[in-house]
Symmetry: C2
Subunit: 597 residues, 2 copies
């Protein structure tokens, strides 16, 4: 049985670091969001996930979802837990207040997302998809559609899904075959099959709203011919009353490596009645309005699981006695020392810890920028934040999920043989974390998005502005006392990133394969550079906290400084390898004939 | 359903590279081992594993082993498959001819081990443990014990196990509590519990021979007080006839992340009758005589699974159509191009391929040295080979299992969402590969073995001789035509390895934590350096094969050169990061108080 305690001090630390209180105080809608209220919200969220969701995590894995005659039964306890979350208003944290949501800033909902994924990723996924669907409705649907569905979704009374993928197309959505034929009443008849639909069918709520990509009869070919439709499982009258079942059936469940409590469905639409959301053929563009949010959320899956894996590994490692420390016995009264005396065990533990805490800095920075892009009063700040979000979101999705997976694997190693046995839970974290590198756009697609859409499209100008922003920040007062070693390393990394991306853009002019060949390593390098920037600021803040007797306590700041050091000493050096790899270009990769693979 | 075809050309390539035919021709016992016979053996092994073992791989995962009232039922088909392997003599390949084995060199049995692990790791483990037990008996037991058991084990009529771990001790075997009390007849009564016993109980054979570590009443404390005993499941008369059950019962099975067809047992010994193997209190030393072989075998588990994962991912990637290539459509007649047109997909595929082929070079080199250490007529060569084996075996176990796991994870990524679904088999490779980094001495223990026993004990002298050997080889005629770029890179890596290990040994004089803090990264750096040496030689050999129209065909040599290039361009650069990390020493790791974790 695993345990999980929300890292509340961590959340407070990043809020302070990024000046959240000032941002919130400046916005009338957030005036009520005092530090005390923020603490109360996070504490209550932490209490609920630990008490109600964590105990269901293993149950969900063991029981999984069951399929019978079109119906899906979720694991024992999931329905009651969801009802409890819904009753507490936890399903509508990010939704607009007018539609019954809480209207909280992303920096705050981010913390709750991390907790949910840490405690029970399978259960969290139903909510995560619902958040995405609600956001999409909010930004693209007309008022009538919003009124009918949005309050229900934000209340967790019904849940939403995203129906994109078909058997022959995941990445390449231009190939979708699902058709939408106009009915006489202005609605559409949707016909086709969708796969990998998270929460496509379940017993958690009375109704499910599917947001479905399909093609109209007059659709242009490819990705510019895709429209978006709202297709409920059961019809909903204009009075909001539930009617007959729609033409949507679940054809079965996928049998997966992990997230077994999450129902991953094959969905068949047979002249199902749907309503167009937004303009015809603009479905993919609409989908992109919520993509940034969803991708960040999936990054939080990696982070949350990394944190849960760390906590459980440490609980084990503190108790497990094996051999003596390198300098002699530390616990001579026991048969052996706790394994945390061994430097190599510490190396693994600090790796996990530093990826988690660095990931939290990175995710919080992006959330902060999301909030500023939406709400900041200064137009220049909004634009600057929008750019940061656009640039860093694919990085967050890919890098947080990779480091999250790496963290779960390393945490499993800390358990020795017990890590491989199901009852300790460490192996479930690994299995649950693995999917996050694949879905919501594979990490390879994220890397292509970065180098293609974000770097090459404007010949690196946006990245150049972000690099300049990081450089400028080093001259600001709150960065004045950054440890000179970290400052020097950061300056080297900024120069490295600049150098390698300029080389890349130059090479891409002559070689169409150059961007793809460099995509993965460029994403890694950008991530490490931004992590270095954030860790330098975090260590400066921790140093200040230590000197000024900050609210989080001496131990917290001391540990933060040790973890920062670990990042600079043992994680950042990967950038040296990345630069060398990037210098090799595409030729070697393209040399192999397809039949040679 | 997964497929697997033994990479026969690869095995031929490494045999040629390391001059196996000359070695074998020089030894009278191997005179019959003509190239044709070697090919015939490997072809037949490949045929059997593909036809008989691969189809049982998924069955084994789905059914797992079942436990009821002390008895273990293995998955459907396992018993028949083992009987078939036994009938073909495949259980005794490495055993001495006098005891009914085939007496084949390790370079040849290595290939068969890889195939077995690739096709069906769970089934292969019963054989692998049996090989270890047979080797231990052969090297340490008296003639009477050998005569009673060894021919049975080598024939696969009975199987052997290794019973080391107890609930409170895995790494730290000095803590074991299992007792051995002398009986009047010269035998011993063994009492205690052992865990993680692979094949501790099963229905594959009539009898099982447990090799058990236990303490005699007068045993000194710690690891110098451990003795080794042969404890059969059923008594065996001096006439070889099976008698009554011994006092050994299986208390249950572990429920594991993977290798579900392998019975991992809790074993209870209650005054079980056992016989001492070797001298009292020398059990751990005896165990070490077979440790090198077993550790190399577990490395082959990583390699085999990496190869199987690669083959299946490529079968998928060649068929999967999604988007167009970077330079335009490659298959315009289809709805999209096969995903292997994309540079980032090629990057992943070549990563997997290069780790596999590099791992095969490395494992084969060690096997060759094992054979020379045992059989070579020149004493100096034997010593040199013994040193190479001692130095590189922990590296092989750790590095091959890590790269094998990495390969299975990357191969799974190539499948996209299908990689996460059980029916494609990619996720089983990941789960089955994960354990190899943990058992047979965790990879952390391997790294400590390297820096503690192999490096620090003689102040780096043995490593110095091996580095010199690699340097000297560059001056030999068969290395004359190595690509100058690879030669230059290799020379840099040799200097880096020398530099970092010298710094480390210096630092270790003052800091007891220095070795442990550097263990992991030093192992990685040594591995990459030896890989670079072997890849330089392999590319030179491939170039020669291309120029001289070698027997493996033009395509083989061309692909080998592309894969070699990939290693130098995109895998070897990790050494830059490792050197930087190693420069940071132990201080940062040791700074965190245990309660801070």
């Amino acid at each position: 049985m695993t345990e999980y305690r929300a890292p509340l001090a961590e959340f407070r630390f990043v809020q302070t670091l990024f000046g959240a209180a000032d941002d919130w105080a400046a916005r009338p809608e957030e005036a009520a969001l005092t530090p005390d209220l923020v603490d109360a919200i996070l504490e209550e969220a932490g209490r609920i996930v630990s008490a109600e969701l964590t105990p269901l995590n293993r149950t969900g894995d063991v029981e999984g979802c069951r399929f019978s005659a079109g119906a899906v039964t979720t694991p024992t306890g999931f329905k009651a837990a969801l009802a409890q979350l819904a009753a507490g208003g936890w399903c509508g944290l990010a939704g607009s207040v007018e539609q019954g949501g809480q209207g909280l800033p992303r920096l705050l909902t981010l913390a709750v997302d991390e907790m949910l994924f840490a405690a029970n990723t399978s259960l969290a996924l139903y909510l995560s998809l619902n958040n995405g669907a609600a956001l999409l409705l909010e930004s693209c649907a007309d008022e009538a559609l919003k009124a009918r569905y949005l309050p229900r979704l934000l209340a967790g009374e019904w849940l939403g899904t995203m129906c994109l993928t078909e058997p022959h197309c995941g990445t390449d959505l231009g190939l979708i075959k699902t058709r939408a034929v106009p009915n006489d009443d202005g609605s559409y008849a949707i016909t086709g099959s969708k796969v990998w639909i998270t929460g496509g069918e379940h017993d958690l709520t009375e109704n499910i709203l599917h947001l479905v990509l399909a093609k109209l009869p007059d659709a242009p070919a490819g990705s510019r011919g895709i429209s978006l439709f709202a297709v409920p499982k059961r019809h909903v009258g204009t009075d909001g009353i539930l009617g007959e079942p729609n033409g949507v059936v679940c054809g079965g469940l996928e049998h997966k490596m992990g997230i077994k409590g999450s129902a991953t469905c094959v969905m068949h639409f047979d002249s199902a009645r749907g309503e167009l959301i937004g303009a015809p053929h603009q479905g993919l563009a609409a989908m992109f309005t919520m993509m940034n949010e969803e991708r960040l959320s999936i990054g939080l899956q990696g982070l949350g699981l990394g944190e849960a894996a760390y906590q459980n590994a440490m609980a084990f490692a503190r108790e497990r006695l094996q051999s003596r420390g390198p300098g002699g016995a530390v616990a001579p009264e026991k048969i052996a020392d706790p394994i945390l005396v061994h430097p190599d065990v510490r190396r693994m533990a600090l790796n996990v810890r530093a990826w988690n805490e660095g990931g939290r800095l990175f995710a919080a920075f992006i959330a902060c920028e999301l909030d500023r892009a939406r709400w900041h009063t200064d137009a220049h700040t909004r634009t600057r934040s929008e750019e940061a979000v656009a640039l860093l979101t694919p990085v967050a999705k890919a890098f947080l999920t990779e480091r999250g997976f790496e963290a779960t694997v390393e945490a499993q190693q800390l358990f020795g043989g017990s890590g491989y046995c199901v009852e300790w839970g460490a192996e479930q974290f690994v299995r649950d974390a693995r999917i996050a590198m694949i879905y919501e756009g594979t990490n390879g697609i994220q890397a292509m998005d970065l180098v293609g859409r974000k770097l090459a499209r404007d010949d690196g100008a946006m990245l150049g502005r972000f690099i300049q922003r990081m450089r400028n920040s080093l001259a600001e007062p709150d960065c004045a006392a950054i440890d000179p070693r970290y400052r020097a390393q950061l300056e080297q990394e900024l120069a490295r990133l600049e150098r390698t991306t300029q080389h890349l853009l130059q090479r891409a002019k002559d070689d169409p394969a150059a961007l793809g060949a460099a995509a993965h390593d460029t994403l890694q390098l950008l991530a490490l550079t931004v992590y270095a920037w954030l860790w330098a600021r975090a260590s400066q803040s921790a140093m200040a906290g230590l000197e000024q007797g900050g609210a989080l306590g001496e131990a917290f700041y001391r540990e933060k400084l040790i973890v920062a050091r670990h990042f600079f000493e043992r994680q950042l050096p990967r950038s040296l390898a990345l630069e060398r790899q990037l210098a090799s270009g595409a030729e070697g990769l393209m040399a192999m004939p397809i039949e040679g693979f």
